[in-house]
């Protein structure tokens, strides 16, 4: 971990050398250089991401596309229709619950496991083994995660069996099929398969915190909790914010897991923006509406990304 103890660059936006006045002829070249480095990225993203996104934005103002032979522009009618659809509101509510709880739980679990794995009481080999076990949920394609948990949470599945035998529940609990528990159940599954991302990053972050900060705190007589709260957390804050942003965006996109466990049901208690959009596209064949919904999601995420980038700027 030697690189982590190196002093970080001032950098981010505009390091010193970027601003240092160079010889005149080099100036234009210098100001073009970063674009040159970004050229492959920009070409790829524009051709393969931005172009399709622009097409989707185009679809979103048509009456319908792809499944019809001719289409015409309807302006913003689709937006009005999607935004006023009560199911869309349900989807937003559920997505928010699902995403916020998932991200928070990923963070808490990731941090807890990272702290445990970082503990001085655990030997090297034990650490390696536990790390490998903890990372397991991350290694499976989402279809398999869905199928596995359907199996485990089946009314006659092994989870109910264990809870029944140990006396926690009586009879069959329909975890995924009961409108009262389904949303919590899918959120739980998403927590299970997503926390390792946080855990690994935070584990690394913990190893990067200089030991002398803790020493100083101990000299001041700070309790373990105060050390955690006043040293660990502030040191990890940048990681936490970056991870949380990425995880937030990814979790709002979670489709396969929900679709393959509950299909958005029972009734519509697990209806998310992703399932709502999917059904518009491939069940109702209203690709324009689906595109509209996608553009709204994109716009919301861009607001988030904008604040994030601004926040970074301020911090630097």
């Amino acid at each position: 971990m030697s690189q982590l103890t190196l002093r970080p660059a001032e950098a981010g936006d505009g390091g010193p050398q970027a601003r240092r006045p160079g010889p005149r002829p080099g100036r234009l070249r210098r100001s073009l250089t970063p674009y040159l480095y970004l050229l492959p990225t920009v070409l790829l993203l524009v051709a393969l991401m931005v172009l399709p996104i622009v097409m989707v934005v185009g679809y979103s103002v048509m009456d319908n596309v792809i499944t019809t032979r001719s289409s015409e522009s309807v302006g913003l009618d689709n937006y009005v229709e999607v935004v006023t659809d009560p199911v869309f509101h349900t989807a937003i509510r559920n997505t928010l619950y699902f995403t916020v709880v998932s991200v928070l739980a990923h963070l808490v679990l990731g941090l807890a496991f990272a702290l445990l794995l970082n503990s001085a009481f655990v030997g090297r080999w034990a650490k390696a083994i536990f790390r490998a076990i903890y990372v397991l949920p991350w290694l499976f394609t989402i279809a398999v995660v869905a199928v596995l948990w359907r199996l485990l949470l089946n009314p006659n599945g092994v989870v109910n069996y264990l809870l029944d035998v140990t006396g926690f529940i009586d009879g069959n609990v329909e975890w995924l099929a009961d409108p009262d528990t389904a949303l919590h159940a899918v959120t739980f599954i998403n927590i299970w398969c997503g926390y390792p991302f946080f855990m690994i990053s935070l584990l690394a972050g913990l190893q990067g915190i200089p030991k002398d900060l803790y020493e100083a705190a101990r000299v001041d007589g700070a309790s373990a909790f105060r050390q955690f709260w006043h040293v660990t957390i502030p040191q990890l804050k940048p990681i936490i914010i970056s991870m949380a942003l990425l995880d937030f965006i990814w979790t709002t996109q979670q489709f396969a897991l929900i679709w393959m466990t509950t299909g958005g049901g029972p009734i519509n208690v697990t209806e998310m923006l992703s399932t709502f959009t999917y059904k518009l596209a491939f069940s109702k064949y209203e690709f324009s509406m689906a595109s509209t919904s996608a553009v709204i999601i994109l716009a919301l995420s861009m607001v988030l990304a904008f604040f994030y980038v601004r926040h970074q700027k301020v911090r630097d």
Binding site: S31, V122, F140, P238, F287, I297
Partner: protein, 281 residues
């Protein structure tokens, strides 16, 4: 060290191990159940009360998969695509991250927002326009088609992480090389990249996992069986009328073993790299 202190240490130690064991059960038991299910017959998987080892315990599911050339081909395809995506993503992301980390330029913030938010469009809505594009480019049902697809999926994440990683490295490092008259490229490849190996490994492994596990685009952008990847192979076992549960489980276990081995092999770097990448974006 006085006695109460020793006892307290012992208590803490027990606490830590108890916590670790609980966590390991949470993480590992579902996977263990999956592995056990792969040795059962289809109806035994649904037995109640469930049993850990059943009468028909067998390796049949594994034999079936490992002796079926079509299924082995799925694994080969997934490896070829995964490794190519990792290599390309790293190269492209290194250049982009270098620009974001070491230069200041007018469009920087705009490009940053774009890089972050292109991940936010539901892939399902991109599917059809994207598919049309691939067909037009003649990349339908080819490895390059899928490789390019995953390349653009993984690039934003890789760039964000690599930029953060480069930001943790002192500028003096590249300055020193430039004083010797070398250009920025030399500084990047001779100094920054070699130091960043842990970061590269972590981003690389994550990229590999995304490419390995993706389903929807892999299915749509390929046509023939010899181009299909492992996730499609798994879903082919989910039939119209019934699932081949044990083979699905076996194929998942087989699929995760190489990734786990890679993780164990690289874990020292992996764990070093991720944090640094996240420190500053």
């Amino acid at each position: 060290m006085d006695l109460p202190n020793v006892r307290r240490r012992g208590l803490k130690r027990t606490g830590v191990y108890a916590g670790l064991t609980l966590g390991a059960m949470f993480a590992g038991l579902p996977v263990l159940w999956m592995a056990l299910s792969s040795f059962k017959s289809n109806s035994e998987i649904f037995e109640y009360p469930p049993r850990i080892i059943t009468d028909n315990f067998s390796f049949d599911a594994y034999t079936t998969i490992l002796t079926d050339p079509a299924k082995l081909r799925f694994f080969l395809n997934s490896y070829v695509i995964g490794l190519s995506v990792v290599a390309l993503t790293l190269v492209v992301a290194i250049f982009a991250a270098y620009a974001f980390s070491r230069y200041d330029f007018p469009l920087k913030r705009v490009l940053n927002v774009v890089v972050i938010s292109v991940q936010a469009v539901p892939p399902i809505t991109l599917l059809i326009p994207y598919f049309g594009l691939m067909v037009t480019l003649g990349l339908y049902n080819t490895y390059p088609g899928l490789i390019l697809t995953y390349l653009v999926f993984t690039l934003p994440y890789a760039i964000i992480m690599m930029t953060g990683y480069f930001n943790t490295l002192p500028k003096e490092l590249d300055e020193a090389v430039k004083v010797d008259g070398a250009g920025p490229l030399t500084a990047l490849w001779r100094i920054l990249v070699p130091i960043s190996v842990p970061g590269l490994v972590s981003v690389g492994l994550y990229t590999f996992m995304i490419a390995w596990n993706e389903f929807l685009f892999a299915l749509t952008l390929t046509r023939t069986e010899d181009m299909r990847t492992v996730p499609i192979g798994i879903q082919l076992l989910m039939g119209q009328h019934s699932y081949e549960w044990n083979e699905m489980m076996a194929m998942s276990v087989l699929g995760c073993v190489p990734i786990l081995v890679l993780f164990l092999f690289f874990q020292r770097f992996f764990i070093g790299g991720m944090s640094a990448g996240a420190v500053k974006i």
